[in-house]
């Protein structure tokens, strides 16, 4: 049986940050994730590193945290960022009092802003609505979640701690006083179970934290807030653009790699796995997007996706709640709930010593959340080592610098042909990049490879690269380089096509519908994908989202 000090449940940014933080303080930590790292909320957000401006009016505590962490991340994780900068702009539909109060609210919350003359704004962002009447520059950036999570894991590895994916928590072992003693895990690809002993469990399962707490005998009522986003087929702006209004639908455009993300709705949902994008959300996002970039709604939408915010009502009291209080909490609209985070010690609260939950928060403040959680864990274990994650940069590839649009192309051109040949033209994913990703994690599915390389994320949405990459998996399988739990190439190919389709279905009109038809024509008409033999197992990792 594996024996560690702390098990962290949840392989998003927060869990990975906690893994790193505790490992740097000398603890033996194991992170477990039920699917791929960064496949939950962290991999399904709009890609924004907040300046804090978004929250200066509605949630000044969060705004201050964001501003501080923004500066920290620019220092410790520059290679995960693109320093796009950002604007807050007042469209004719935005309320006057919000616009006029914004600079002072920023000053109060420690968020740096500079008013931008409109002439300069339109010179820099020519597609923006010419009826915009005020603009403020902020230090927004776009952030690559998977690289950030990888870097945190890499740092933890350097300090002797590990992370396992596709391991679902299925049980918690507790001692005579109810204290945590260990966890039982189930491999979601093989069904094998194993036990890990530990003194502390950190529940960093985000929107799924309620389910994890329940396994340990504690009550935690999350209020997951589904946020849907659209991917536009190119960069509509070169900086992040936010509206000067309380957070609402369609209020932000984030340039991410070769595309723009249009966000975000907020819908309270019961089940955090309920992340289907509805037609109503698509309409709302496009209508509001038109306010920022007129005509945006007739541009090509590549894909839709949604994530679930790990929202939590701070007044929630746990097991001692009355039914009435719970009912009230359920009815609260999720956007009104604080975006601030909370560390919960379930010892006194629920009689489960050794269980801590971290809830709420946002990707921008993941490190701070990790620090505060780790402080509480260390205090409970009598460990005095201080947090060093804000000072010590995350591991980065040699020569790494902030992302820029031409970076991958420059690297390919420097390398020349051969193995640098492109597998995915849209995102400039080379054969060597994929082989390297498979060397690192030989059990990867195509969707796992997408998260580590951006395979299939561009305009053609996998039409060309899916079979090329599946063929690479097959070569590895024939060479005995795929571990037994790795999905079969055919299963992975089918699952990848299905997942790409899931995102395209809500926006299947115009050019993107045509694209789907051409793709179906290739995969069925020429490739006869429907006749491929099934893999040797019925369960596949790709089926786990």
């Amino acid at each position: 049986m594996t024996d560690v000090d702390v098990v962290v449940v949840g392989g998003g940014a927060t869990g990975s940050g906690i893994l790193r933080d505790l490992a740097m303080r000398g603890l033996r930590v194991l992170l477990v994730e039920r699917a791929d790292f960064g496949s939950g909320t962290s991999g399904r957000y709009h890609g924004l590193l907040h300046s804090g401006g978004r929250y200066v009016v509605s949630d000044p505590v969060s705004a201050r945290d964001c501003a501080r962490e923004n500066a920290v991340l620019q220092r410790i994780a520059p290679h995960c960022l693109e320093l796009t900068g950002g604007y807050f702009v007042a469209t004719p539909d935005d309320p006057d009092d919000y616009v006029s109060g914004f600079p002072a609210a920023c000053a109060d919350a420690g968020v740096r802003t500079d008013e931008v003359p409109l002439r300069e704004l339109f010179a820099a962002e020519p597609l923006l609505n010419r009826r915009i009447r005020a603009a403020y520059a902020v230090r927004d950036a776009s952030m690559e979640p998977w690289e950030l999570i990888d870097a945190n894991r890499a740092s933890a590895r350097e300090h002797g701690s590990d992370a396992w994916r596709y391991q679902a928590l299925v049980g918690v072992e507790r001692g005579p006083e109810g204290s945590v003693r260990g966890v039982r895990l189930e491999d979601r690809r093989t069904g094998e179970q194993r036990a890990v002993s530990c003194q502390v469990i950190v529940n960093a399962a985000g929107a799924w934290a309620g389910q994890v707490a329940a396994l340990a005998g504690a009550t935690l009522r999350m209020s997951p807030g589904k946020g849907s986003m659209l991917i536009m087929n190119r960069r509509l702006t070169s900086a992040v653009v936010n509206r000067l209004a309380r957070p609402g639908d369609g209020d932000i455009i984030v340039p991410v790699h070769t595309v723009s993300i249009l966000g975000t709705t907020d819908v309270s949902v019961e089940d955090p796995d309920e992340v289907e994008v509805t037609a109503g959300e698509v309409d709302a996002l496009l209508a509001d997007g038109d306010r920022l970039v007129p005509g945006l709604s007739s541009a090509r939408v590549l894909r839709s996706y949604a994530g679930c915010r790990p929202l939590y009502k701070a007044s929630e009291m746990g097991a001692r709640d009355t039914e009435a209080q719970r009912a009230e909490a359920q009815h609260a609209e999720s956007r009104e709930i604080s975006r601030a985070h909370h560390v919960i010690d379930h010892g006194a609260r629920d009689g489960v010593p050794g269980l801590f939950s971290i809830v709420g928060g946002k990707l921008t403040t993941y490190r701070l959340m990790a620090e505060q959680t780790s402080d509480r864990v260390c205090a409970s274990l009598g460990i005095e080592a201080p947090c060093r994650t804000a000072d010590e940069p995350l591991p980065a590839p040699p020569g790494a610098r902030p992302y820029w649009l031409g970076g991958r192309l420059a690297a390919v051109e420097a390398d020349g042909g051969g193995d640098a040949d492109l597998v995915c033209e849209c995102e400039i994913v080379t054969g060597s990049l994929l082989r390297h990703a498979l060397d690192e994690r030989p059990d990867s599915s195509l969707d796992d490879l997408r998260r580590s390389t951006r395979l299939g994320m561009g305009p053609c949405q996998g039409a060309f690269c899916t079979c090329r990459a599946a063929a690479l998996l097959a070569e590895r399988a024939d060479a005995g380089q795929r571990p037994p739990e790795a999905p079969e190439p055919n299963d992975s190919l089918r699952a990848f096509l299905a997942e790409r389709l899931r995102g395209a279905a809500p926006i299947a009109w115009g050019d993107q519908l045509m694209e789907l038809w051409l793709e179906a024509g290739v995969y069925r008409g020429t490739m006869a994908v429907e006749t491929l033999p099934a893999g040797k197992r019925t369960a596949s990792t790709d089926a786990i989202s």
């Binding site: 037609a279 040949d421 599946a470 063929a471 190439p489 024509g521 008409g525 020429t526 994908v529 033999p533």
Partner: protein, 432 residues
């Protein structure tokens, strides 16, 4: 102002064959298309009909024509002549095909190791459909650094599946062709053009031959890149040099067999006097009641207006761009705004887009009367002098039924026959 007896809109299999047939029957024909056709995406074989269980194209057609609203319910009588005419035209152009309506549908291996039913294919693909002799193996022979053909993946899949009366064994190999080490991102077009060059070809064929393992007999499947303009010559040389039967396997776009098909038909159209304008979308339509009198395309300088007596609409389905889904959940016919048979938006993708049965929207399209004129919801003819051909027709699922090419040919032929026949009848009436 230019005028023509007939304007054909669309340059796919339906548009080109309709234009050729009309011109050969004496009409002046103007063909306009907004771009290259779906032939560039397809495998270059002629899929007539292969619904599940069909034994031959003819047998498939007889199953499909029984389905209410299927185009073959109208088109079946024209199919034989249409197919024979097109295959003769292709053979004249140096692109021989094998197979006919009675040929058995046999499994054709795909580049990822699927098997699709095929019966009528270019000569270069035909050896794949011959019965397998005892002891005969299938060798999938790839080209080093060519990204779009995966012999190892295909062999792995083909070896792990049921293939009744298939090869005795399946293997893969890769050949390093000369002088392509410095090229980046090799696609099929680059390789096909290289094969047109006789001196390079000699070395390349030697390299292919050297890569074949000695433990034959093999039948050798190679990516469909064996030449573009000089394909017949390349095919003959490769077949002779390799001493095993060789066949081409069509792969990811751009499809070389599809390009060859397009090139031969387009050349024929030019030779029989079809005037062709590719790269311009129809921007305006003039009508007189239920009759189209002229169409106009937008050119760089000014609209080009073309008067016509008859129109063949061969703009394709959703994939070809003739039909377009709109955000409001409606489906639009792009040239005339014709009424369409289509499921509700919520049903469009019901089913499995990558599965054997496809999705509901695949059967959407233009409903027509027996003379291929577009009709409305009550069966009324909407435009009297427009005939619809090809994938814009409602009532088929060409990927499920593998019937798109047969429907294209038969509808094009029928449209041409009706238009030319009416013109002949009018002339006869005047003469008498």
């Amino acid at each position: 102002m230019p005028s023509a007896d007939v304007v054909v809109i669309g340059a796919g299999l339906a548009g080109l064959t309709a234009a050729i047939e009309l011109a050969e029957r004496g009409a002046t024909v103007q063909l306009v298309a907004k771009g290259m056709a779906a032939t560039h995406w397809a495998h270059g074989g002629i899929d007539v009909a292969a619904p599940v269980g069909a034994r031959s194209p003819a047998n498939g057609v007889s199953r499909l024509r029984a389905r209410a609203g299927h185009p073959y319910a109208i088109l079946e009588p024209d199919l034989g002549a249409a197919l024979a005419g097109t295959l003769a035209c292709l053979a004249d152009g140096g692109l021989a095909y094998r197979g006919d309506l009675r040929a058995p549908l046999r499994p054709f291996p795909t580049p990822i190791g699927g098997l699709r039913p095929a019966a009528i294919v270019p000569a270069g693909q035909a050896p794949a459909l011959e019965p397998w002799a005892p002891g005969e193996g299938l060798l999938l022979l790839g080209i080093e650094r060519f990204r779009d053909f995966w012999p190892q993946y295909a062999a792995r899949n083909l070896a792990r599946r049921a293939w009744a009366r298939g090869p005795s064994r399946i293997a893969s190999a890769v050949a390093a062709l000369p002088g392509i080490g410095g090229l980046h991102n090799l696609n099929s077009l680059v390789l096909a053009r290289r094969f047109d060059d006789p001196s390079w070809r000699a070395e390349a064929i030697a390299a292919l031959r050297a890569a074949i393992p000695g433990d034959g007999p093999w039948r050798v499947g190679v990516p469909a890149v064996l030449g573009m303009e000089r394909h017949a010559e390349v095919l003959a040389e490769v077949t002779e040099a390799i001493a095993h039967p060789v066949f081409e396997i069509p792969t990811l776009p751009p499809s070389i067999p599809g390009l060859r098909l397009f090139d031969v038909l387009r050349a024929r159209a030019g030779a029989v006097g079809v005037r062709t304008q590719v790269g311009f979308e129809v921007a305006e339509v003039e009508r007189d009641g239920d009759t189209v009198t002229a169409i106009a395309t937008r050119t760089a300088a000014r609209p080009l207006r073309i008067m016509a007596r008859d129109v063949v609409l061969a703009t394709g389905g959703i994939g070809g761009g003739g039909l377009r889904g709109r955000r409001d959940g409606s489906l639009e016919e792009r040239v005339f705004g014709l009424p369409l048979a289509a499921p509700a938006r919520a049903e469009w993708l019901r089913g499995d887009l990558y599965g054997a049965n496809g999705v509901a929207l695949e059967s959407a399209g233009i409903r027509v009367d027996d003379e291929l004129r577009p009709i409305g919801p009550r069966g009324e003819v909407v435009l009297r002098n427009v005939r619809v051909a090809g994938s814009a027709l409602a009532g088929m699922r060409y990927l499920v039924e593998r019937c798109g090419d047969g429907v294209a040919l038969a509808s094009a032929y029928r449209a041409a026959r009706l238009i030319a026949g009416a013109a002949d009848a009018a002339r006869t009436a005047v003469a008498s």
